[in-house]
C-alpha cells in the first residue's frame, strides 16, 4: 500500500435537504488499495455521502476528490473512473453472461476489441467459460455476485464502491466474496464498502462509523476496539451508534 | 362493515395524498375535453386552394367566386399549368388545387360533361379529405345550379362526379364528447383500479390484508367503490363541460345516460381487476391499460376513425370493446335523443360484457397470492 497516494480525499463535506442536514462536515481520506468500511445506522447519512462520492449528487459545501476528480464540478469524470455495485447486483437477469459484460463494457466506453478481450479474460478469471451463454437469472447467487463485482470493475477503475454487497447472502458465498475483495485490493484497487455485518467490518483496513450525519469514529478495527474497550466491532458499533437518544 | 369503510377511507387517502393522482383524476377530464375541443379540432379553416384553368371561362369564374366566399376555404393563386401545383403544395403555400380542363364551359354546354380534378396534399390525409370534400361541395353546388338552369335540356355533368358527404357545420364536438367520456371513464376505472391493486402487491400490503379475516370479495369491492365514486364525479363534470362549454345538447334522458354510464363503468372496473390479476408490477399494469385498453379504445371505438370504414376483421374485433357500445349509445341518447327501445341491443351487449368481466375477474382474483 503506497501510503501517500490517496484515491479519496474529502474535506468538510456537507449536504442539506431543506432544514435537514444529512451529511454534516465529514472529512476523511482513503489510500490506494485500501479496503475502507463505511458504516452507520440506517438513516445516518451513508447513502447520501456515497451518492456524492459517486458523482450522483452535488454537495451543499465542502471539497473533495475521488480518483483525482473534484466532487463539485467533475462528476462526469468521476462516474467514468469508479466502479459501483449495489445489493441488487445491477445485472440484467434476462441477458446472458457475455451480453452483460459486453453491455457494461460498452457503457463504460471500452472499444469493441477491449470488450472482446474483457469477455474472455473475465470469464476465465471467474472460471465461468462454460457459463458464457447462461442467462444471469439462472445463475446461483454466488456466481451472480462475483460476476457483478467483476463487471463493476470492467473498466479497471481505481476505486470500487460496494453498497451492502453481501446483504442476505449465505455465509459461504459471503466469505468467498470477501476473498475477491481482498484480491482486488491487493492489485491496488481501492475498495469502499458498506455493510450491516459487523464481522465484515473486521475485514476492512480502516472503518468509519457515521452517526447523525457525522463521522463519530475512524480508524483500523484494532484501533477502534482499543479506543472503545470492545472485544469486537459489533460492540464498538453498538457503543457508538446505540447511544440513547441518538436515533431520532 | 367497519372493515369495508376503513378500506374505502384508506383508498381515498391514497388518491388525495398523491398530488399526481389527484390531478389525473380531477383535471384530466377537463384537459381532455379542452384538448379535443379546441386543439385537436378536425375542422379546417381557411385552407388555401389554388386554381388552374382559364379564369375568363364563365363557369370557372363562378366556381372560383364560390371558393373565395366559402368560409372554410381561401382562394390562393390562379396558376397556368398543373406543373406549378406540386411545388406550391410541397412548400405548404396551398393545401389543394382545382384544375379545370381548357374550354370547360364549352365542353359542359356542348357535350354535357367536363373534367375537373382536385389535387390535394395526401401527406395530411385528414385535412386533404376535408378540403377535397369542401371543394367538391362547392363544385357540385355550382353543378346543381347549372342543372337547374338547363333543366329540361338534359342536364350537364362535371367530371369527376364527386360523391359528397358534407356536413356544413362539421361540428366535431358531437363526435368527440361521447368518445372522450368513454375514454376517461375507461382510464379512471381500469388504470387506477389495477394500478392501486398492483401497487399493494408490490408493497406487500396485499399479503397482509389477505391474511386478515376480511373476505377477499369485500376487499375487491372496497377497491372498486372509490373509483366508482370518482367516475361519477368525472361523468358529471364531462357532461357539464359538454353542455355548457361545447354546446353539445343532451336530447335524451339523463337517467338513461347515467344508467348506460354505470354499466360501462362496471365493465371497465372488471377490466381493471382483470389487469391487476395478470400483472405483478405497476409498469405492467400501466402498459396493459395504456396500450391494451386505451389505444384500442381510441382506434376501434369510432372515436377517431369511423368503424364503418375499417376492414371487416377489425370491425368484428371492435365489437368486443366495451367502449364502442358505450359511445354508440351515448351518441344516440345525447344527440339523437333516443329512448331505451332504440338502444336495447347495445345495452344488452354492454350489460353482458359487464357481468362477464366482473364475474370472471372476481373469480380469478385469488384468495391466495
Amino acid at each position: 500500500m503506497e501510503a501517500n497516494e490517496k484515491t479519496v480525499v474529502i474535506r468538510g463535506l456537507v449536504k442539506r435537504f431543506g432544514n435537514f442536514t444529512a451529511v454534516d462536515h465529514i472529512s476523511f481520506e482513503v489510500s490506494k488499495g485500501e479496503i475502507f468500511g463505511f458504516l452507520g445506522a440506517n438513516g445516518a447519512g451513508k447513502t447520501t455521502a456515497i451518492r456524492i462520492l459517486c458523482g450522483l449528487s452535488v454537495p451543499t459545501s465542502g471539497e473533495g476528490t475521488v480518483a483525482g476528480f473534484s466532487i463539485k464540478n467533475q462528476q462526469e469524470s468521476i462516474k467514468k473512473h469508479i466502479g459501483y455495485m449495489s445489493q441488487k447486483f445491477s445485472l440484467y437477469s434476462d441477458l446472458k453472461v457475455w451480453e452483460n459484460i459486453e453491455l457494461f463494457g460498452g457503457i463504460y466506453g471500452l472499444s469493441d476489441k477491449q470488450i472482446k478481450e474483457k469477455i474472455s479474460s473475465m470469464l476465465k478469471a471467474l472460471s465461468m467459460e462454460d457459463a458464457r451463454d447462461m442467462f444471469v437469472r439462472d445463475m446461483p447467487l454466488g456466481w451472480k455476485q462475483k460476476l457483478a463485482f467483476s463487471i463493476a470493475m470492467v473498466h479497471d477503475p481505481q476505486i470500487v464502491f460496494l453498497d451492502e454487497p453481501t446483504g442476505g447472502v449465505d455465509p459461504v458465498t459471503r466469505r468467498n466474496f470477501w476473498e475477491m475483495i481482498y484480491e482486488a485490493a491487493s492489485r491496488g484497487v481501492t475498495v469502499f464498502v458498506t455493510t450491516h455485518y459487523m464481522d465484515e467490518a473486521e475485514y476492512c483496513d480502516r472503518v468509519s462509523i457515521m452517526v447523525d450525519g457525522r463521522i463519530e469514529a475512524l480508524g483500523s478495527p484494532s484501533q477502534l476496539k482499543m479506543q472503545y474497550g470492545a472485544v469486537n466491532m459489533d460492540e464498538v458499533f453498538t457503543k457508538i451508534a446505540g447511544r440513547p437518544g441518538k436515533q431520532q | 362493515m367497519k372493515e369495508i369503510l376503513a378500506f374505502i377511507q384508506k383508498e381515498f387517502w391514497h388518491i388525495f395524498r398523491d398530488r399526481k393522482t389527484t390531478l389525473i383524476v380531477l383535471v384530466m377530464p377537463v384537459v381532455q375535453i379542452v384538448l379535443f375541443g379546441f386543439a385537436i379540432s378536425t375542422e379546417v379553416h381557411n385552407a388555401v386552394v389554388d386554381v388552374v384553368g382559364d379564369i375568363s371561362d364563365p363557369v370557372v369564374q363562378r366556381i372560383v367566386n364560390r371558393i373565395d366566399v366559402n368560409e372554410y376555404l381561401e382562394l390562393g393563386r390562379i396558376l397556368n399549368s398543373t406543373s406549378e401545383v406540386e411545388a406550391r403544395i410541397r412548400k405548404g403555400k396551398s393545401t389543394a388545387a382545382v384544375c379545370f380542363e381548357d374550354g370547360f364551359d364549352k365542353a359542359l354546354t356542348a357535350e354535357g360533361k367536363a373534367t375537373v380534378s382536385i389535387i390535394s396534399d395526401g401527406a395530411d390525409p385528414n385535412t386533404a379529405q376535408m378540403v377535397t370534400s369542401y371543394v367538391s361541395g362547392v363544385i357540385s353546388s355550382e353543378q346543381l345550379s347549372i342543372s337547374t338552369r338547363t333543366a329540361g335540356g338534359g342536364g350537364a355533368t362535371m367530371r369527376p362526379n364527386v360523391q359528397l358527404m358534407y356536413n356544413p357545420a362539421m361540428n366535431s364536438s358531437y363526435n368527440f364528447v361521447p368518445g372522450v367520456m368513454g375514454l376517461i371513464l375507461m382510464l379512471i376505472c381500469s388504470m387506477m383500479t389495477s394500478v392501486s391493486i398492483v401497487k399493494e402487491k408490490e408493497l406487500g400490503t396485499l399479503e397482509l390484508v389477505l391474511v386478515s379475516p376480511v373476505k377477499p370479495f369485500w376487499i375487491i369491492l372496497s377497491k372498486l367503490i372509490p373509483y366508482l365514486v370518482l367516475s361519477a364525479v368525472n361523468f358529471i363534470s364531462v357532461l357539464l363541460l359538454a353542455v355548457f362549454v361545447m354546446d353539445v345538447p343532451v336530447n335524451g334522458s339523463i337517467a338513461l345516460l347515467s344508467l348506460v354510464a354505470l354499466i360501462f363503468v362496471g365493465s371497465s372496473l372488471g377490466l381493471g381487476l382483470l389487469v391487476s390479476v395478470i400483472s405483478s408490477t405497476q409498469q405492467t399494469a400501466m402498459l396493459l391499460c395504456g396500450m391494451g385498453l386505451t389505444m384500442p379504445t381510441m382506434m376501434l371505438s369510432g372515436l377517431i376513425f369511423p368503424c364503418e370504414s375499417m376492414p371487416v376483421a377489425l370491425q368484428i374485433f371492435s365489437d368486443i370493446i366495451p367502449a364502442k357500445w358505450f359511445i354508440i349509445m351515448v351518441k344516440k341518447i345525447m344527440i339523437q335523443g333516443a329512448g331505451i327501445s332504440s338502444i336495447i341491443k347495445e345495452l344488452t351487449v354492454l350489460t353482458g360484457m359487464m357481468v362477464f368481466l366482473l364475474w370472471f375477474s372476481i373469480k380469478k382474483f385469488r384468495t391466495r397470492l
Binding site: G40, A41, N42, G43, L141, E164, G167, G168, V169, D170, P171, V172, T173, R175, W178, E179, Y182, S186, H196, Y197, M198, D199, E200, A201, E202, Y203, P221, S222, K225, N232, M233, D234, F237, T238, A241, G242, Q247 | K2, E3, A6, F7, K10, W13, H14, R17, D18, L203, G204, T205, E207, L208, V209, L210, V211, S212, P213, V214, T367, R368, L369
Partner: protein, 303 residues
C-alpha cells in the same frame, strides 16, 4: 412453554417452474416457543411462510397452525395469526397512526381495545404518530410493522425477515422486544439471514436451497459440530487463510471477523502444528486457541 404443538409441517414441497423452492420440509414448533428459521436469501424462507400463513398452496405435504389445516381451515388460521411480511408491509402514504388503525379495523378490532398488547412497542413510536410511514427510519418502520402484526392479539406470530437491512443496534432492540412478546405467551416463528441471531431463539432450523440442513436448539446444533475448531488471529487474515486452507486435515477454514476459524478432523493438525506452519510461511505474531463452534460454523459445515 407447554408441549402443545403450535405449528406442524409435514413433508411440504413447493416448486416454481423449474426451481424447487422447498423440498420435504418437516418442522414442529411448540406452543410459546421462539423458533428461528435461519438461512440466506432464496433458501425458501418466504415460500414456507406464505404456505403457513395460507397465502400460497404447497405442491405436496401437510401443515397446520394451532391444529388447523392451512388448506381446509385457512379462514380460521387467518383469524389467529399475526404476520409481518418481509420489507414491512406498510402504506407509505399513510401516517403511523393511520396504518395501525387500518390494520386494527381490518382484523376486526380497534387500537384502544388491544392497546395493552402493543403499548410497550407503540409507545416508542407514538410521538411520531402523525408522520407518514415513508418518512420513518428503518428501525421505526420495523416497530410499526410489528405493532400492526400484533394489534389483534394473535396466538402465533409469523415474522418474515424482520431484521433484514436494519442496523445492528435496531436489530438488538428488536430481539429484546421479541423476548418480551414471547413472555406473554405468543408463539413466534421468525426467519432471518443473520446467523448471529440464532442464539436468541429457543430452537432453530437451518435452511439452504429449499432443504432443512439442521434443526434443534442452538446448543444442540453447536454440540453436533463434528470437528475441532481453532481461532487464529493475526495481522493479515487473507494470508492466514491461504496458508492454512490447503493443509491436510483442515476441513474448513474461513474468516470470522478479526479471526480465522480453522476446523480440523480428529487426526488433523493441533494448535502447535498450525502455528509452526504459519511461522514457516513467514506469518509471525499469530495466536491460535481452541474455541467452541458457533452457529455460523455449523451452517458452513452443513452447507
Amino acid at each position: 412453554m407447554d408441549d402443545r404443538i403450535a405449528i406442524k409441517v409435514e413433508g411440504i414441497c413447493k416448486s416454481y417452474k423449474a426451481t424447487r423452492a422447498l423440498q420435504d420440509i418437516n418442522l414442529e414448533i411448540k406452543s410459546g416457543e421462539l423458533f428461528g428459521l435461519i438461512g440466506p436469501d432464496g433458501a425458501g424462507k418466504t415460500s414456507l411462510f406464505r404456505i403457513l400463513t395460507t397465502l400460497s398452496l404447497a405442491d405436496s405435504g401437510k401443515a397446520s397452525v394451532e391444529g388447523k389445516d392451512v388448506v381446509e381451515n385457512y379462514a380460521d388460521i387467518r383469524r389467529t395469526i399475526g404476520y409481518m411480511p418481509g420489507h414491512f408491509a406498510l402504506y407509505q402514504d399513510l401516517s403511523v397512526e393511520e396504518n395501525l388503525k387500518f390494520y386494527a379495523t381490518v382484523f376486526g378490532t380497534s387500537v384502544e381495545e388491544n392497546y395493552d398488547t402493543i403499548k410497550e412497542i407503540y409507545s416508542q413510536i407514538e410521538m411520531f404518530k402523525d408522520r407518514r410511514a415513508r418518512d420513518l427510519s428503518g428501525g421505526m418502520k420495523q416497530k410499526l410493522a410489528l405493532c400492526c402484526a400484533l394489534v389483534h392479539k394473535p396466538e402465533v406470530l409469523f415474522l418474515d425477515e424482520p431484521t433484514t437491512g436494519v442496523d445492528a443496534v435496531s436489530r438488538r432492540e428488536f430481539w429484546a422486544m421479541l423476548a418480551r412478546i414471547k413472555a406473554s405467551g405468543v408463539t413466534i416463528f421468525v426467519s432471518t439471514p443473520y446467523m448471529d441471531e440464532a442464539g436468541l431463539c429457543d430452537r432453530i432450523a437451518l435452511i439452504l436451497n429449499g432443504k432443512i440442513i439442521g434443526q434443534g436448539s442452538p446448543e444442540e446444533i453447536r454440540s453436533r459440530y463434528p470437528y475441532k475448531i481453532y481461532a487464529a488471529r493475526g495481522e493479515n487474515m487473507f494470508n492466514i487463510l491461504k496458508t492454512l486452507r490447503p493443509l491436510d486435515g483442515v476441513v474448513q477454514c474461513s474468516s470470522f471477523g478479526c479471526e480465522c476459524h480453522v476446523s480440523v478432523s480428529e487426526d488433523g493438525p493441533g494448535e502447535g502444528e498450525l502455528l509452526s506452519v504459519l511461522d514457516a510461511a513467514g506469518i509471525n505474531g499469530c495466536t491460535i486457541e481452541p474455541i467452541e463452534a458457533g452457529i455460523e460454523d455449523c451452517f458452513i459445515g452443513l452447507s
